[in-house]
Every structure is written in structure tokens, then in C-alpha cells.
Amino acid sequence: MNLHLPSAPHTHAPDSVPRIMGLVLLAVAPATLYGLILFGWPALSLLLVTVLTCLLCEAACLSIAGRPVKPFLWDGSALLTGVLLAVSLPPWAPWWIGALGGFFAIVIGKQVFGGVGQNLFNPAMLARVALLVSFPVEMTTWLGPHPLFSSHAPGLFDGLAITFNGIPDVDGVSGATILGHVRTQLGMNHSLSQILPGHFQPGAAVLGWTGGSLGETAEWLALLGGGWLLWRRVITWQIPVAMLTTVALLAGGFHLLNPDRFADPALHLLSGGLMLGAFFFATDPVTSPTTPIGQLVFGAGCGALVYIIRTWGGYPEGVAFAVVLMNAATPLIDHYLRPRIYGRTWGGQSRPVKRPPTRPGESQ
């Protein structure tokens, strides 16, 4: 048998949209499952409501626009948007938060711009920002871990009642996240050395045994999923590394200047949605720059904005705002940081050709 093995380059089927979406869904699955276990049945019903609303809105928009519904609906982009949005919501939020967020993400964040690949902003982050601005109370009702099947966790029917009827004893279960707690206490002129003991345990923060959004608590699972995406080359390293490094450097610098006023880098890196944002929201290929240098600038901008909003802004957490603001800057970054054209200088002139020196005796 004569097997003809051609030499490189080989053609191969390029990454399709459904494949990429599936890989990202797989990568975010561990953090999501952990959140579902940590916060129990209400979190599951919120996730289902959000995802179903996203799919319904996608189908409705596609049929209104007269585009084929089935291939676009099954490419998984609306499913992924729904999961990513649900993961960034408070786990016991009422059902209409999820439904309104799903509508906002798909209709206003995505389909208005022309559907998959055309959106200016990350749909899930845009919806989260809109919800946070509109419903500050519901969007900041956090609670500690209520793991599934533990004694103080609500059962299936109590969980449904929480999602569709409201939390019966809000003050009994809710509590501030570590970032929110630090912000309130700093506002009351307490110093960090008084605030943090007993509230911030780096070990618990890494493991995810804290309050927070549905999927943001387990930093190591987000890191794991992000690392896997890097290994599968779905995302590149520039944005997450630049974003996390910028936050760490800024936090470290200010912490050295005044340790009582500015929290250390570990707290910043291990709390809130930073890991999830750096690997899953900022790296959205549609809304981030295309060149490696542009991605570094984008990531650094996200990180700087996160730190600025967390430290001096009006909200305790700023990942969603940072990502949406840098999404708006993406066309500008792409305009100014274009790669050099091959064979030309940065100014666009053709590069001088260096001829090899002619050897004596060789005719020209």
C-alpha cells in the first residue's frame, strides 16, 4: 500500500463557531457547577431562567430579522451568553433579574448590532451593567455559602419560592462580599488592619467558600478553565496576563505606600469576579482587539479600570464596567495598533532591500 503523505502546510477544518462556544462552555462548567452546589436550588432555577430567556430572545430576533433560526440558535452563542450572564449574577436573585438580563444581553447587546460576531460590547457584561445600574438592591443582595443538601440550605420547593417569590428572610441570610465590606468599613474611617482579620481568609477565597456571584467565588476553578482554554488555544495569554498583572502591580504599589488604606494584591486577585472576568469576559474575541500588542493594552486597561473602580469608584466591584468600557475603546486600539505591513516600514514606505555583497569574480 502506498500511502502518500504530503508535506506541510496541511489544510484543516478551521475552528467553527459552535466548536469554540462548546469549548468555552466546557471551560466555564466547573465554576458554574461549583456555584450551583454552593448556592443550591435557587441558583439552578436562576441559571435556567436566564439561559431559556436568552434562547427565546435569540429565536425571536432571528425570525423577526428573517434569518435562519436553527443554525444560529444551535451555534451555542446565545447559550453561552446566558450561562456567562447567570454566572455573574447574585445567586439568589429573583427570576425577573435573569429574564430581563437575558433579554437585554441578546436583544440590545447582540441582535440590535446584527447578531453573532457583530456586537460592540460583550452582551453578558452589558446586561450585568444595565441590571446593576437599574436594580442596585437586587443586584447586591449577596449571601454566604448555602451548599446543596446541607442543613440550612433551602430544598427544591423552597428554592423555587426564593427565585420566583423573593427571599423570605433577606436580612437573615444576606451579607456583604469582602470587597463591599472593605469599602463600607473604609468609608467609616476604619483601617484595613482592623477590618480584614476574621473576614478575609485567602485559603477560603481561593477555594471559593465565600459569598459572591454565582460562578465567581471559586478562583481556582476559573483559573483552571481559563488555563484549559489557553492550552486549547481558544484564547491567547495577552489579555488575562496583562489584566491580572496590572491589578497586582497597582494593588502592590499602593499597598506598599499605605497598607492601612489599600488592600494587598492577594485580596484583589482572589475576590470578586476578576479571575472569571480576565479569562471569560475580557477575552471575548468579538469585542477585544485583534493584535497581540492591542490585546496587551486592552488587558492592562481593563486591569487599571478594575483597580480604579474598586478603590475610588462608586461601586465595590468594577470588572463588568471595566470590560464594557474597554470594549468601547477596542476600535480605537485596533485603529492605532495595526501591525506593520510585511516588507514595509511603520510609515508605510517599502523597506530598503539589503543585497548580499557580491563575491569577487562573480558576475552581476
Binding site: 444595565a130 437599574s134 442596585p136
Partner: protein, 230 residues
């Protein structure tokens, strides 16, 4: 252009300040948090538009083209100052709500736009009709957008209408959903842009459908017209 009826319908709908010309959006975004505010702002602008069109049309033969813009601005500014004082005197409650935006009618591009595009070239009567129709069209747009934002944002309609129109109009004030939590985004400027965007899309879709129906009727006419008994 003495066909007053076509001037009127053009101003009210076909060439609507907001929905067709996309002018005067700054006061629109700022004041349309309720339908009542929209109505008040629209009526004030209508008054200024009518007066400025009449004044400019009657002076159009004395104003040389070189200095027309400063003269227009001067005339409009005096009229706006009058409107500002009048609202402050007689509709003081509304003045407290709209306060800042009434002097800003001076820079409302629709007023200067109508002066430049219409009143400086047309007789007084046509200009008066144009100013009135444009103003009413603007008022209509403000009420529609204000109503949508009010319903979505706070689930009321024509809240505080009695302050603007007198106690006789208190029946207009409706609360659609009691104990509504409020959708703050709709009352902030993004809500204005969102509502305007969706209304524009709706208007375009409607016009396209009407156009298609007309064309279908015309082609059917061309195809079978010869069979018709005259």
C-alpha cells in the same frame, strides 16, 4: 409652497423634527423622563418656533445673507427669554422641573434650522403654519418617548399633569402598576437612546411595509390594468 395642508402634515409626521430630521435630541434625552415633562417642553418649543418663524419671515427682506445667522440667533434668544419668563411667572411648578432646559431652547437646532431652511425664504403665513406644525410634531415625539420611558421606568403615565395643565387634568395621571420597583436605566439618558432607537426602527419598518404594499398594488395595476373597464 402655499399648500398649507402639505406643510402641516410634513411638519407633523413626514419631516418630523425627531423621527425624520433627528434634530433637537439633546433636550429630548434630558427632559423626557415623563410624558408631562415632554408635553411641557414641547409646548414651550412650539411657542418659540411659531414666534421665531413669524418674526424671521417678516424680517426676511431686511436681513442680508452675510449677517443672517447672528440676527436669527439674536431674535430667537429674545423670544426664548420671553418664554422663560412667562413659564416662570405662570407655570412655576413646571419651571422648577424644566428650569434649566428652557433657556437651552436657544440652542435647539430645530428652531434655527426652521429659520434658516424655511422662514427666511417663505411668506409669513406659510412660515407660521410650518413653525406650528414642526412644534406640534416635536411635542408629539416628546410625549411618545416620554410616555414610553415613564411607563417602563416608573409605571406611571402623565404623572404631575395637574401641575402643568391645571387641576382639571388630574384625570390624566395614571399609575399602571402600584408598588413598581422602578427601572432606573430607562429614566437615565441610555433609556432615552434605547426608546428612540426602537421607535425609529418601528417607524422605518412601518414605512417599508406601506411602501411594499403600494408597489404591489402598482405592479398589479400595470399587469391587469388593461382589463379594467374604465
Amino acid at each position: 409652497m402655499n399648500d398649507y395642508r402639505s406643510i402641516f402634515t410634513e411638519g407633523l409626521w413626514g419631516n418630523n423634527v425627531v423621527f425624520a430630521q433627528m434634530l433637537a435630541l439633546c433636550p429630548l434625552m434630558a427632559v423626557t423622563t415623563t410624558a408631562t415633562n415632554g408635553l411641557g417642553m414641547g409646548l414651550a418649543t412650539t411657542g418659540v418656533l411659531l414666534a421665531s418663524n413669524v418674526v424671521i419671515a417678516s424680517c426676511r427682506n431686511f436681513i442680508t445673507p452675510d449677517v443672517r445667522i447672528p440676527v436669527f440667533v439674536l431674535l430667537i434668544a429674545s423670544l426664548v427669554t420671553l418664554a422663560d419668563m412667562a413659564i416662570n411667572a405662570w407655570l412655576h411648578e413646571l419651571y422648577k422641573v424644566l428650569g434649566l432646559f428652557i433657556p437651552l431652547i436657544v440652542v435647539n437646532c430645530s428652531v434655527l434650522g426652521r429659520a434658516e431652511a424655511f422662514a427666511s425664504k417663505q411668506p409669513v403665513s406659510a412660515s407660521a403654519v410650518d413653525g406650528l406644525a414642526m412644534g406640534l410634531g416635536y411635542t408629539l415625539a416628546l410625549i411618545i418617548i416620554g410616555g414610553c420611558r415613564e411607563i417602563l421606568g416608573s409605571a406611571t403615565l402623565f404623572a404631575h399633569a395637574s401641575l402643568l395643565l391645571g387641576d382639571g387634568f388630574a384625570f390624566l395621571e395614571t399609575t399602571l402598576i402600584p408598588h413598581y420597583k422602578g427601572f432606573l436605566l430607562m429614566l437615565l439618558p441610555p433609556g432615552g437612546f434605547l426608546v428612540l432607537g426602537f421607535l425609529l426602527a418601528g417607524k422605518r419598518a412601518m414605512e417599508r411595509r406601506v411602501q411594499q404594499r403600494k408597489e404591489r398594488a402598482r405592479s398589479a395595476d400595470l399587469q391587469y390594468g388593461h382589463c379594467r373597464v374604465p
